[in-house]
């Protein structure tokens, strides 16, 4: 009886390679991972510092941060895989498939996050520094990582949003990579108030704010709505830097209210729809 012999295949070789791993190789791999981590952090910090110097032009630089991080981490992982498993290119492709399937079964969410991160880098629905709403969360994007995106909300809370949400949640980006952003302020006045005066006050407050950005393409506008017991005056203008969003609103609101008081423009006497008396 002849016992058939089979040629050695890739995975068996890699198993042999794993069995003969030396401590020094493992340490070298760890050192590479640590170096990649440090390099990514340093690169991100340097780019952030450069972006801060550019003030409102910072988005030109911040869009590079996630790309650089992905490239550094990807290169690090590739080098580590080559070092540990010593695979040929063909074997690496076969091994990646096997590894992917294994990870896909056990770490499905993590992989979805990583791929979500890759798509985020490629499509750039938002960049670091943008003001976005993702699901129920609204805030400034402060980091786009491999697994998650971090937002700081207006109440200074750091929210970590997994990247896979990109695939099944709508994302609203208030500034789309620009420093300026549309801000809306709303006032309610009594029906006796002179609408033209009120409108002029709100328009002037927006146009003269120290935080306004106004041009022919990004104009200021004021809309007046007549309701049964009150009138709504809604002013809209662009803030020069989205970091000043709340300061802009406060500045306009304060000055409008001061002027209303100075000119004797009164608040509504009746109930405002949707707002308890």
């Amino acid at each position: 009886m002849v016992i058939p012999t089979y040629p050695t295949v890739g995975p068996l070789q890699s198993t042999t390679a794993l069995e003969t791993l030396e401590l020094a190789t493992v340490l070298e791999a760890l050192a590479i991972l640590v170096a990649a981590y440090v390099a990514a952090r340093v690169a991100a910090a340097l780019l952030s510092a450069l972006a801060d110097r550019l003030v409102a032009q910072r988005f030109r630089v911040t869009l590079l941060i996630p790309v650089v991080k992905f490239v550094i981490y990807g290169t690090g992982l590739y080098v580590v895989a080559k070092l540990l498993f010593q695979l040929s290119t063909t074997q690496l492709v076969a091994f990646s498939g096997l590894l992917g399937a294994a990870l896909g079964l056990g770490l499905k969410d993590l992989l979805a996050d990583v791929f979500g991160g890759l798509v985020l880098v490629a499509e750039q629905p938002y960049r670091i520094g943008d003001k976005v709403s993702i699901g129920d969360n609204y805030g400034e994007v402060v980091d786009i990582g491999i697994r998650s995106t971090q937002l700081v909300t207006p109440t200074d809370t750091l929210v970590t949003v997994p990247n896979y949400l990109f695939f099944n949640t709508s994302i609203a980006n208030a500034n789309a990579g620009n420093a300026e952003m549309l801000v809306s302020v709303e006032f309610y006045v009594d029906t006796d108030a002179d609408v033209r005066t009120v409108r002029r006050i709100v328009e002037d407050a927006l146009a003269t704010s120290q935080y306004v950005y106004v041009s022919d393409e990004l104009p200021i506008d004021v809309v007046v709505e007549d309701n049964l017991n009150y009138r709504t005056i809604r002013g809209r203008g662009y803030v020069n830097d989205l970091r000043n969003e709340l300061t802009f609103k406060t500045d306009v609101t304060e000055r409008v209210l001061d002027e209303f008081a100075a000119q004797g423009i009164e608040s509504p006497k009746g109930e405002i729809e949707g707002i308890p008396e």
Partner: protein
């Protein structure tokens, strides 16, 4: 030394005078276009106004609005032609601060008289966005940035009597080597992406290559190139840089140093600077009353400590040599555009 009309003509700005002549001829022929002369601070718009006044001779009334107008507008009725200097003082950055400007624009739109007005370019850009001021003036004359050759002609004309010797010191002097420019790069599918690309300062490289060249003509060329670059082609700033760079009757590329500083200022100081840039010069107490929500005097002191401003007991103004430092900083903050 202040600039003259002859200096502007020597710099090849004759076309500005031609435009003004045409507008004045239209006026004499019965049609009165409203004229706006717009320039950056120090760029010489008053010289163009002088030219209009000389050309119209006695038929004109000239009014200077060189402080924030807090009273009524001067009576402009019954005049065939009115010259109004520094119309950017007709508004203030406060609620109700456009009332006088609006009345003025309404009045000149309805009038048959010729109105020749001069404006600070920064104020003009702002007012064009918030008040459509550009719609009221059918003719706009803007003082352009001068090239190195034009700058050479201007300075040679202005300082013909006191021209310094051009010398070579073996050094080119410090100038920013690389700038950054935003470019749109097309992508497949009709999409495009904005990329920030570095741009080499060729004038600087030229000056480096000539740094060991003793040829006086080449040294002159480098001097004028550097002055044109550091002044952004602004005649008034160029004369300030020129005068600062002369040492013992000599000028060399190395003597023309860039005023390069990073401004460390907060939002309030930036706003004060923006207002001053749009006005050129302002009374300190007026500035304080107009910007009542801001600690103006503290901001002025901080800016003066950084040498950006010149302040005396009554007024505050931006130093010409720091004009482009301020311009760059405020553009970066999106306060001017």
């Amino acid at each position: 030394m202040s600039l003259s009309m002859a200096d502007l003509e020597a710099a090849g700005l004759d076309h500005l005078f031609d435009t003004l002549r045409t507008a004045l001829d239209d006026h004499l022929a019965g049609w009165s276009p409203n004229l706006a002369i717009v320039s950056e601070p120090f760029a010489g718009r008053h010289l163009l106004m002088d030219f209009v006044e000389e050309t119209l001779d006695t038929q004109v009334q000239r009014v200077a609005l060189d402080s924030v107008a807090d009273g009524e507008l001067p009576d402009l009725t019954g005049q065939a032609a009115v010259l109004l200097d520094d119309c950017h003082y007709l508004y203030t950055r406060e609620i109700g601060g456009f009332e006088r400007l609006d009345r003025f624009l309404e009045e000149i739109s309805a009038s048959d008289a010729l109105f020749v007005t001069s404006w600070n370019r920064y104020a003009w850009d702002y007012l064009a966005a918030v008040r459509d001021v550009d719609d009221v003036f059918s003719t706009k004359v803007a003082v352009p940035s001068l090239t190195a050759e034009q700058m050479a002609d201007l300075l040679t004309s202005n300082y013909a009597e006191t021209m310094p010797d051009f010398v070579q010191t073996g050094e080119a002097g410090r100038v920013k080597t690389i700038g950054f420019d935003q470019r749109e790069v097309g992508l497949p599918g009709g999409r495009s992406i904005g990329l920030t690309l570095p741009e080499l300062n060729l004038e600087y490289l030229a000056s480096r290559s000539l740094s060991r060249d003793d040829d006086v003509e080449n040294v002159e060329a480098v001097v004028f190139q550097k002055i044109a670059q550091l002044s952004n082609g602004n005649p008034g700033v160029a004369t300030a840089v020129w005068e600062r760079s002369i040492r013992d009757g000599e000028i060399a590329p190395a003597y023309i140093e860039e005023v390069d500083m990073v401004l460390d200022i907060d939002d309030d100081e930036a706003f004060v600077l923006e207002v001053l840039l749009a006005k050129g010069e302002m009374d300190r107490s007026t500035l304080d009353s107009v910007l009542s929500d801001i600690p103006v005097h503290r901001a002025l002191q901080s800016l003066a400590e950084q040498n950006v401003l010149q302040i005396d007991e009554a007024t505050a103004r931006i130093d010409p040599e720091y004009l482009y430092t301020v311009d760059t900083h405020l553009k970066g903050r999106r306060l001017i555009w």
